[in-house]
Amino acid sequence: MAKMVTDVICPFCGTLCDDLEVSVSDDGTKILDVYNACAIGAEKFLHSQAKDRVTRPRMKQEDGSWKEVTYDEAIEYTAKMLADARKPLMYGWSSTNCEAQAVGTELGEMVGAVMDNTATVCHGSTLIAVQDVGVPSCTLGEILNRADRIVFWGCNPAHAHPRHMSRYSIFPRGFFTGKGAKGRKMVVVDPRVTDTAKTADIHMQVEQGRDFELLTALRVAFKGEWLPDFVGGIPKKTIYEVADVMKSGRFGIIFFGMGVTQSLSKNHNIDQAICVTRDLNEYTKFNIMPMRGHYNVTGSGEVWGWLHGFPYALDLSRGFARYNPGDTTSNDLLMRDEVDSVFVIGSDPGAHFPNSSVKKIWDLPCVCMDPHLTPTTAVCKLHVPVAFVGVETGGCAYRMDNVPIECRKVVDPPEGMPTDLEFLERVVARVKELKGA
């Protein structure tokens, strides 16, 4: 017999599905199966059960080999590294809960750290654009209940957010959307013919890096003004048609992803996309939402927002909070040799940062706190495995629409393994002692 844990939250992507069911062995130690999740979500749960999981901290030795150390030793090393540093970088935060983020921020204040999250290589440009022009948006349930116009721009939910379309955006029948997918018009803008694009009513196969032009062309088209024959490779007839589709809906939304945030023009693309949305609100109701990747990258921006007023690139090294993307962002700091140690929390810069940045991390004292073995754990000096948030411990996470959801604990972590919150709390206590001395 197995126990069934219901209403489980999936700690993988920003869709943050909260309807998973997980069957657990009677003694509560093993996950047997995961229901309702997509393949990548289920994998996250099953992965925690891997036989070869690292369950004790490991310190890299002079000769490059790894030696197991105790958690006490790991706390001592981390606390000393941070307390001794002039300007440590505390990076990541996207795959942990808000409680750990809040305690981590207090730690950052104490040691004068620069705090940065994965938005720095992802939706940071979105956050800048919001600071320029704002953002008219809504919760995902509003899409479910009202939306009849859905635009996916530079994102591929079929692969990156697999249950997004079935739970919220395309297929479900809501209060005012009784016809489900039949009542919705779907537009995809993507240079590639993705699986998402294949299901669209209209696919605008924009030329790579021409999103800005196409977005401005839409704004022209809303007003029925003149356009050249092609913009970004799209015939003007199609642009007028898409403009018309958008204007004629009752409630619409643009979801956008890394295809526009990190392509040529970056935050200026998003400025335009938001202005497209603003314009549309003169005709109908329209919204825009970033497809946030990691399940709680949104939460780290909120925690830093309420504690210090900035969503990423948060520099606490001067004793007060500063923010200046390009200056206080992780890669820029690493490239300029401005940080003297690195603490990575629940993220993988080893995989997502440019090689030259990763080399710098390799050269610096670096602690990586992560349940997994990752490219980052390979380049750090100390790897601290911790309990999986959302599997072995609960905690708050913010969905891509900023809705906070409390994750559930499904099974116990391996014996003696702390959560990242517990580990951080102990580092805070130790740093207090070191600084007080």
């Binding site: 953002v135 948006s137 509003e142 309420w306 504690l307 210090h308 007023g309 409390e406």
Partner: protein, 572 residues
């Protein structure tokens, strides 16, 4: 715990009827006590200073998703505003939308003990509580919004008060909420389609109920439950020229309804930031726009079951934020500044837009005047509370400046003569120039302590120095016998010499010296079982919410780590 004896100060306490007499004030084990109860108190010499109970803010937007959106999208609000950490005090930042840390410290420095977060979107309740948790020192609570909630719209369409009440009790428990907030009733649901309900008689699209029905129904449900606070409304057409008729129509919904509760509250309707709702004329032009503060407050004076707060414009660059989604869209169309909007499924919406109340414009000057006129024309200071609808009409740190304007005709004349560019036009279109009244320190204590505490149903805990009350005492470096310069008022009330909060010294010689022991207040209301409402809730979660019902409730532990629960029994 510690004992304190505060000696030689001028005490103002409306509950005890003390009007500036020198009375010793005693605190022991977190509570106010008789001086005879002390054994070995630490003495605080308050010679030449003013002593009042800790202040109570009935309406400010200080925690939650829209506040955080305001912070994150306005880096400019933090420029040159940072304060480094010092001792136990953490880093502070921000001006019109301060960080939670600064929020707690600023309120403490101003001598506040309790602050009500004025609008909590239920689906985002966790966010509100996380921010409240991370706001040091002050006790706080939050009002969930109900006026555009689909359950409420459906029940009140048929005047189902009992079902509405059962739903309210359930939602307050789910969200750890304190009372019933009602923002732009019906209009925010209409905003789901880009529309609005400008008057109390415009039916809500699809739901086919009028704002008037929502307002009256929520008052009745609130009294059915006997909650500590009354229904708290921000009426339709905020900020619109000519809106005073809508305001009067809203206030009239309370006629004939009596307060029913065990908390000493006597009113059934609180109208917030009345300044934004007391406009005459047809446009913002000085030829047309005019103050209707007198007309509105005359009505309030004539009724005894209404309380109000002012929402005084402080003439700053600020950040507006409200669950009145259509209003914020209207505002961004007017000032063309950046605009955040979030529509929340089945419940509400919110918008955020920066705004500059420039003393160089007629309209900002007129708004400034109207807020003050309301405070000066109000007959009962126990029903009239000082706010800036922080941060909408101005940041809460400007309260002491508002006190100065209310307490000094000279300070007002100086504004009209020397600061406002269109001071004479403002005199012409508003009543401000005709008013001689100056609010006294005793009245100030009513408007910032005893009054709001009573309206929130918290008169047994806050608002007075009576033995048994919470040990919240503020000592201000203001000498009522010798101070003549109105600037002294602003300076003194901006930075208390001492604040004792819950019996602990948190501000000492003007400096924050403790992070306190803040609590989150919420109201747990028991109602009879109501299978229909339970079924409706289950059904709506299954079909229309994007989260499961089992994942909706805000549990204590890290969201409300230090709760103060007020229990209400509405089963009879």
């Amino acid at each position: 715990m510690a004992e304190y004896l505060i000696k030689n100060g001028f005490v103002y306490d409306p509950v005890l009827g003390i009007k500036g007499d020198k009375v010793d004030v005693a605190v022991k084990d977190g509570k106010m006590v008789e001086t005879s109860a002390l054994s070995k108190p630490a003495e605080i010499d308050a010679s030449g200073m003013t002593i009042m109970a800790g202040a109570v803010d009935i309406h400010a937007h200080v925690a939650g998703p829209k506040v955080c959106a305001g912070r994150n999208f306005r880096p400019e609000d933090k420029l040159f505003r940072a304060t480094p950490m010092a001792g136990i005090k953490r880093m502070e930042g921000g001006f019109s939308v301060p960080t939670t840390l600064r929020t707690g410290y600023d309120y403490a420095r101003m001598g506040f003990g309790f602050v009500m977060e004025a609008a909590m979107p239920p689906l985002y309740a966790r966010h509100v509580h996380e921010e409240i948790r991370d706001t040091p020192i002050i006790d706080e609570a939050a009002l969930p919004v109900f006026g555009n909630n689909w359950f409420v719209l459906e029940y009140l369409k048929n005047h189902e008060i009992e079902n509405t009440a059962a739903y309210i009790a359930w939602l307050m428990r789910m969200t750890r909420g304190f009372g019933v907030k009602n923002v732009n009733p019906g209009g925010t649901e209409a905003w789901g389609w880009g529309l609005n309900c400008p008057t109390v008689n415009d039916p809500v699209p699809y739901f086919d109920i009028t704002p008037a029905q929502i307002i009256r129904g929520l008052i009745e449900a609130n009294e059915y439950l006997g909650l500590p606070h009354c229904m708290h409304v921000h009426s339709n057409s905020l900020g619109e020229p000519g809106n005073f008729t809508v305001t009067l129509d809203t206030l009239k919904q309370a006629e004939g309804i009596k307060a029913r509760n065990e908390f000493g509250r006597e009113q059934v309707l609180h109208h917030t930031h009345l300044q934004f709702h007391s406009y005459g004329g047809e446009s913002y032009a000085s030829k047309s726009f005019e103050s209707k503060s007198k007309e509105v407050i005359d009505y309030v004076n004539s009724q005894d079951n209404i309380t109000i707060d002012l929402g005084v414009v402080t003439l700053d660059e600020t950040t507006t934020m409200t669950a009145d989604g259509p209003f914020e869209h209207h505002l961004t169309e007017l000032n063309h500044l950046k605009w955040v909007n979030t529509d929340v499924e089945l419940e509400t919406a919110a918008g955020v837009v920066p705004y500059i109340y420039s003393p160089k414009t007629f309209i900002a000057g007129a708004q400034w005047a109207i807020g003050l006129e309301l405070g000066l024309y109000a007959k009962d200071p126990m029903r009239t509370f000082i706010t800036t609808d922080h941060p909408n009409a101005g940041p809460f740190i400007r309260y002491p400046r508002v006190y100065k304007w209310l307490m000094s005709k000279a300070a007002r004349e100086d504004m009209l003569d020397n600061v406002l560019k269109y001071g004479n036009t403002v005199r012409d279109r508003c009543y401000i120039g005709e008013i001689d009244r100056e609010i006294t320190l005793f009245e100030l204590a009513q408007m910032t302590r005893a009054g709001p505490a009573k309206a929130l149903g918290l008169e047994a805990m806050f608002g007075s120095l009576k033995p048994g009350m919470e040990g919240d005492v503020a000592v201000y470096p203001y000498n009522p016998e010798t101070s003549e310069d109105p600037e002294d008022i602003e300076r003194a009330f901006s930075n208390a010499q001492y604040l004792i909060k819950g019996g602990e010294v948190v501000v000492k010689e003007g400096q924050v010296v403790s992070n306190g022991n803040k609590r989150t207040f919420w109201v747990d209301c028991k109602v009879n079982e109501n299978p229909q409402v339970e079924r409706d809730i289950a059904e709506k979660f299954k079909r229309y919410y994007s989260v499961n019902q089992a994942n909706y409730e805000v549990y204590a532990h890290h969201y409300v780590p230090n709760p103060y629960v007020i229990e209400v029994d509405a089963t009879q």
